[in-house]
Subunit: 151 residues, 4 copies
């Protein structure tokens, strides 16, 4: 779906390292050394994040659970919002729609987020979740975030 | 939304106790004594389940995280599917759409699921998630499940 | 799903007649004498609207088309927004999610909308679409509208 | 979002001309010479279709209506399903989720569909709707179709 965000690629508003530091400070319950989460790549309005395969995220049959995929997509979108908007820790998820496509393999999962719209009040993006060992898409997400008015 | 599922209420295909026993056996990673999850009520195609307020589910500001609400909605729908279809442990979530409406209070959350369609191949339902202390709706979910062919 | 909006029912901000007059003026392409659309009931944050069964809305097999149902849900939500917010003709649909549940009969369809959240910036609601002759739900919709800043 | 459907591109199961002929026969109410609809390109599991800018599809302000965009996305997905599955006229839309991103220009709109999953029972795809004069995305859709059992 070559929906280019267009133009000579803009630089991200925050680097990968800056975003990881912000997440560790603002969302320590979700993003901490034992979470298995990492930020792999950041562009302007794009992000690639990873969830390590961990026993507690597994469902019968050995696959990563649906809620884990939803959480990873939400995490990827937060990183993509930071990459375009800079540090706006109060962005609020208002809608998330996920289609589960295939059973993931017994492996890490990677989420690739891309903003479709980056407005003053609403940000909309899509996320592909792939199995790290095959790059096969296991779930697809669209999500909307509300940016609170500046105060 | 008085969409009545109809008629003199049918009895559920499984009791609350039977469903809890099935979940503990089939989904021990998700449903175990430390999970804070419980099944409160079961009707034919309806379910009321609860997530206890626990430190690890909390986000900055003291509210229960979005992924926790998604997981609870999915759990409520599983219980509702069992209540209508009996033990079909392989039902697979194919789509989940969630609208986050309000910040939940620092309290348990309760999910009330109701099947909208109970077909041979697809089950569709909706879930209201309320804050246990106010009964105010904090999120609304619709979800679709695929029932595998009998083998 | 007895999610009561609660309290002694508030009066709607506009009457059925006022809303029909506003729609005829603002959306003449969609709401005109030949459209088959009518507003049946208006409460505070609720609406019941009807689409007459008309040849040009029909698909093979004699059923009303999916896009016709989506359009009717959107129309019902507009009426519900007016009923709660008064005349705000610039509300913009930002997200619409529809689950098609059953093939509608060869009959009118009726949409019953109810607001789940009525914020300053975002309005979220759900709509049941029923076949007028059976009251059976044929589709279920959730939708979000953005209210532009006052100017 | 480089989710490649993979491999040396497979040929479509039906050509553009074959699909247009099938649609004219099976869906004459939707796809007829006065509809303004056309199929522009077909690949294996992909489709590009167009809706001409026509007075009756317009809303106040001169923009193409939301229901017109939903109908075009549904149409694009049907073409993509045919392109991968061959003539299966009974595929049924079960879920459609649309995010409206920008006000379209006063111009044709083009929908680009791509299948994300092509299973025996369920087909899932995404659609970008762009304004024909700017290639800017105005809406994004994901949709699921149920393929009835062969008889």
């Amino acid at each position: 779906m070559n929906v280019t965000m267009s133009k000579p690629a803009k630089s991200p508003a925050m680097s990968r390292e800056q975003i990881e530091a912000l997440l560790a400070k603002e969302f320590p319950q979700a993003f901490h050394p034992g979470s298995g989460l990492s930020v792999e790549e950041v562009g302007f309005g794009t992000a690639r994040v990873r969830q390590a395969y961990m026993a507690r995220l597994i469902r019968p049959g050995g696959t990563i659970s649906g809620p884990t995929m939803m959480a990873l997509a939400d995490f990827a979108m937060y990183v993509a919002v930071f990459s375009a908007a800079g540090p706006v820790p109060l962005a609020v998820t208002t809608n998330l729609n996920i289609n589960f496509l295939r059973k993931p393999a017994q492996a890490d999962i990677v989420a690739k987020a891309r903003l479709l719209k980056h407005g003053k009040r609403l940000v909309v993006g899509e996320v592909d979740i792939v199995s790290a060992d095959s790059e096969e898409t296991v779930a697809h997400v669209t999500a909307t975030y509300s940016i609170p008015p500046a105060t």
